[in-house]
């Protein structure tokens, strides 16, 4: 018998550049965003937020607000104190981690500017916003804690008075003899890198609607994680899980920022419960920049030891990771997702990693596209360029001397991960060819010799990443509270149409299209005959949701597995219809036939109807073809690729212009090349944005300076180069379709490619680093630093402190 996987390998749909099913509603304005929801009697909620980074709340009076026309209720944190619980942290990475109490609405103390301190619930959103101004609240200021290096000093003021210090945890990992690797090493390079704080900036601001119905509650939220949210809301509020229904309707992007259990979700639920009426809250962008979790924010100290020929001996990484004021859903775990990735695609003898999670009086950090892996990839790819420069070797040549060769897979790295497959040689060769690497190096030489004001730099990033989160057993070893499986159901309708229920809740990725392609091949039904359902815990009752480039490699495999079960069930019934023993029945192209027979056979649609009618089923066979599957991945997914960036850097103004950008990614077998290319484009844009444009900046008092899109610079179409993208295809060996994750790859790969290009352009001027974002001013400052570019560059952000 042909297996489903083999069948689909020969199928017509997987691999096709299908335009997306989702688009029909999105391009016509028929989208169902959470903020579109209007319910009878619905009220609108608005939050008053702390103007101070750190203060004690001494008085709150909401009575004047409450008395305003149209205001139904006004509450302070004290009003919720008995029932609001503490926002969850699901990843206590060490036994002795400090997890402070995190009330959804601050009761006694505020620990970052933007923390909710009171709310108004009114008939309409304007009235609610007006009434916020009538709330009286007094604060006693407490010292802000802003700089991580100072925060861990003995005499630092504490973010949480009850905690022993501002250290949330220390987590370490090592393998191999690091001392031996560094002892007598001919070359040792040490660098400090700063991963600036970023604001994920999904274009749809958050929104929540909660409708009470007796003791049941339906909550709509612009979330990536309806299933996890449902469970967590039950844990936090004590409302039993089976009385909660969570719906993620159309969600306008997430990038990790909606992988969260937020204060506003809990408080909207509690308000609806208390008032017995539907309540809506919609975030403004300025509110969101303050209160949606931020990303990145690490100080990295990286040391590498190598032989004279460039062979890597050892790597040592020491991080300070800014947690912000509280530990949110996976805050402490984000750096751990990078811990196994600093070694990148390279072989070495020893590796050590240490991370200290630090509390500050800033917005909490958590997952942002790539989550830990962009930070790791940046560090290794930046320092590989530094090592190449030190040795006078071309950066690609240095990588070749160290990377895992294609014939060496599967390969267990120094960080303990077994990479199943890859071909770094092929991706790099293709990328070099597309960029015209050798010609550009010649041009660079000429421009250097001429002393042109505008210098050319070529940046290299040969990345891999671990994604497809995640094998549950491994998550358990890392003390994550949940598993990493995914669920799917496939339902054969009497008419032969197919409903697919997926626990992976999409918010722009295109699951409805990609899953339809997988199912069309696996069941031999038309692409158009498949409907994908998701995002509602009543419709799709089981799931682990969407993050960590997991949807296809985990959720897609659950869909495939459920299809396999449907075919197996259908075969038993088909054998009765065909009057042939089951072992003689073959399935292909949607048709069951007795082996060797030339007849029309029975289509899967015929079998679906026969099953529905149930007139003539084999004895003891249930009248259903429907099947569920829950798949736990056996390992991570390891996409890889080579990104090359050529940048013109004006040495007089510091202006950087990306002249060409080539990305050759290997994401294994591709289900839909259109979707894959889109993910790569968008991923690269966010990585380029970190390199050149974005930074969440605070002043000395802990006020966020970048609260609006006027201050926090997201790139526009005019800021982005035209990208050249291509692929190599080395199938994964760890799933039946051979696919790998793609959602985060572009973001992980691109940031070091861009910064390497800038530094490469300026290296003859003594520049060894430019802190991100590499604004014209910072590039110019680095140039002025000349021989001591690192010091000049670090001075711009105070990153010198990172050395400890």
């Amino acid at each position: 018998m042909t297996t489903v996987a083999q069948e689909s390998a020969a199928g017509a749909e997987v691999g096709k550049a299908r335009a997306r099913k989702e688009d029909a509603r999105l391009i016509t304005g028929q989208t169902n965003w959470t903020d579109n929801i209007v319910l009878p009697g619905m009220l609108h909620m608005a939050f008053l937020r702390s103007p101070a980074a750190h203060a004690r709340i001494t008085r709150v009076n909401t009575s004047a607000a409450r008395a305003m026309p149209g205001v139904v209720a006004a509450f302070s944190g004290a009003d919720f104190a008995a029932e609001q619980g503490s926002l969850p942290c699901a990843w206590p990475v060490t036994e002795d981690i400090v997890i402070p109490n995190h009330p959804p609405m601050a009761v006694e103390e505020v620990r970052y500017a933007g923390e909710a301190v009171a709310c108004v619930i009114a008939r309409d959103r304007y009235t609610a916003a007006d009434a916020l101004e009538a709330i009286e609240i007094d604060y006693d200021p407490l010292p802000p804690v802003l700089d991580m290096r100072s925060a861990i000093a003995e005499d630092s003021p504490k973010v949480h008075a009850s905690a022993p210090s501002n250290r949330a945890y220390e987590w370490s990992f090592s393998n191999g003899d690091l001392d031996a690797a560094f002892r007598d090493a001919p070359v040792v390079i040490e660098r400090n890198y700063v991963q600036q704080r970023l604001i994920p900036s999904a274009l749809e601001p958050r929104a929540v609607v909660c409708a009470p119905n007796g003791d049941e509650f339906t909550l709509w939220s612009a979330t990536q994680i309806p299933h996890i949210l449902r469970l967590m809301l039950a844990v936090v509020t004590g409302i039993p899980e089976h009385n909660l229904r969570v719906i993620a309707p159309d969600v306008g992007g997430g990038f990790g920022s909606k992988l969260q259990v937020t204060a506003e979700e809990v408080l909207t639920l509690l308000a609806a419960k208390r008032l017995g009426r539907p309540v809506k809250w919609t975030e403004s962008r300025s509110e969101g920049n303050l209160a949606v979790h931020h990303g990145r924010d690490q100080l990295q100290r990286v040391r590498v030891a190598a032989d004279r020929d460039g062979r890597l001996r050892g790597l040592s990484v020491d991080l300070l990771a800014d947690m912000g004021a509280y530990l949110m859903l996976v805050t402490p775990g984000v750096p751990l997702l990078g811990a196994f990735m600093f070694n990148g695609i390279y072989k070495m003898d020893a590796y050590s990693f240490r991370c200290t999670g630090v509390f500050t009086t800033k917005t909490p950090t958590d997952a942002y596209r790539g989550a830990g892996r962009p930070e790791a990839t940046f560090a290794i790819e930046r320092i590989m360029d530094e090592l190449a420069s030190e040795l006078g070797v071309d950066p690609i040549e240095l990588r070749k001397r160290n990377w895992i060769k294609h014939e060496e897979f599967p390969y267990t790295t120094i960080a303990g991960l077994t990479y199943d497959s890859g071909n770094y040689e092929a991706a790099t060769a293709k990328a070099c060819n597309l960029l015209g690497y050798d010609q550009l190096r010649k041009e660079q030489e000429q421009r250097r010799a001429r002393g042109d004001a505008v210098q050319l730099g070529i940046g290299v990033s040969t990345y891999t990443e671990m994604c497809g989160l995640a094998p549950s057993r491994l998550l358990g070893q890392l003390l994550y509270a949940a598993g990493g499986w995914e669920h799917a159901s496939v339902r054969m309708l009497p008419s032969g149409k197919v409903e697919v229920v997926t626990g992976s809740s999409a918010h722009g990725q295109g699951h409805e299209t990609a899953w339809s392609q997988i199912v069309a091949d696996a069941l031999g039904v038309p692409f158009e005959d498949v409907r994908v359902l998701h995002g509602d815990t009543q419709v799709a009752p089981k799931g682990m949701d969407t993050y960590g480039s997991r949807s296809l490699v985990v959720g897609g495999m659950a869909v495939l597995s459920a299809c396999t079960k449907v075919v197996a069930k259908a075969k038993v019934i088909a054998s009765k219809l065909l009057e042939a023993p089951p072992e003689e029945v073959e399935f292909g192209g949607g048709v069951f036939r007795a082996r060797g027979s030339e007849g029309a056979g029975k289509t899967i649609q015929d079998v679906a109807f026969a099953t529905f009618a149930a007139h003539d089923l084999p004895d003891g066979v249930e009248p259903s073809l429907d099947a569920d599957a829950t798949v736990d991945p056996e390992t991570f997914s390891f996409p890889h690729g080579t990104h090359l960036c050529a940048a013109d850097v004006d040495t007089e103004t510091g202006q950087v212009k990306i002249r060409s950008y080539v990305a050759v990614d290997d994401v294994g077998r591709v289900v839909n090349p259109l979707i894959v290319e889109g993910q790569v484009h968008g991923g690269i844009a966010q990585g380029v944005a970190q390199a050149l444009y974005e930074e969440a900046a605070y002043d000395a008092d802990g006020n966020l300076l970048t609260t609006t899109m006027a201050d926090y610079l997201l790139p526009s179409a005019a800021d982005m180069p035209t990208l050249v993208t291509d692929r190599t295809e080395t199938p994964a060996t760890t799933n039946p379709l051979g696919v790998k994750g793609v959602g985060e790859a572009g973001t992980i790969a691109s940031t070091p490619a861009v910064v390497n290009a800038i530094v490469d352009a300026l290296r003859p001027m003594g520049v060894r680093d430019v802190p991100m974002p590499c604004t014209p001013e910072r590039v110019w400052q680095a140039i002025q630093g000349r021989a001591d570019g690192v010091r000049a560059a670090n001075a711009a952000t105070g990153a010198e402190e990172a050395a400890r």
Partner: protein
């Protein structure tokens, strides 16, 4: 309250509104035209872009009272029986992912093509600078606008000269 009368996607609306009511809130909360979303509060993102008397405006930067007597076209009124060439091109070129910026992006692109029926890639990028997208990296949006521009120029002449 001020009385306003305006046309939205060929339907006339008359309402008493607060002078401070933003046009985008009027569209969404009063007229129920939720196809136009809101992405920011500082007129940077352009998600709420609509056509006002044929010219693109960010509807968060216009008061409803300023739209009195005007004709508004939103993404919901763009298709005329069949998809507008821009809608079709955005679909075919995969110029959207989450789709939140798409209504504003398409309306801004419609105005861009009105002013410049055959823009270069650079002109498209500059012309859409006021509309932010966090998903696509813009590349397929540029392709889509380009594709729609050739569809528009090809259709009436039937020459097929424009590739």
């Amino acid at each position: 309250m001020t009385h306003i009368t305006l046309t939205i996607d060929s339907v006339t609306y008359a309402d008493d509104v607060e002078p401070r009511l933003l046009l985008v809130h009027y569209l969404r909360d009063v007229a129920g035209k939720t196809g136009t979303p809101i992405g920011c509060d500082t007129t940077n993102c352009g998600a709420c872009t609509v056509l006002m008397d044929g010219v693109s405006v960010k509807s968060c930067s216009v008061f409803a009272v300023q739209a009195d007597g005007s004709e508004i076209t939103t993404i919901q009124g763009l298709a005329d029986g069949e998809l507008h060439p821009l809608q079709q091109a955005f679909h075919e070129e995969h110029a959207l992912q989450c789709g939140y910026c798409t209504p504003g992006m398409i309306m801004a692109a419609a105005d861009l093509l009105r002013e410049n029926p055959q823009p270069t890639d650079e002109e498209i990028r500059e012309g859409l600078e006021g509309n932010l997208c966090r998903c696509t990296g813009y590349q397929n949006i540029v392709r889509a606008v380009k594709r729609a521009s050739s569809a528009r120029t090809q259709a009436p002449a039937q020459t097929g000269a424009q590739a």
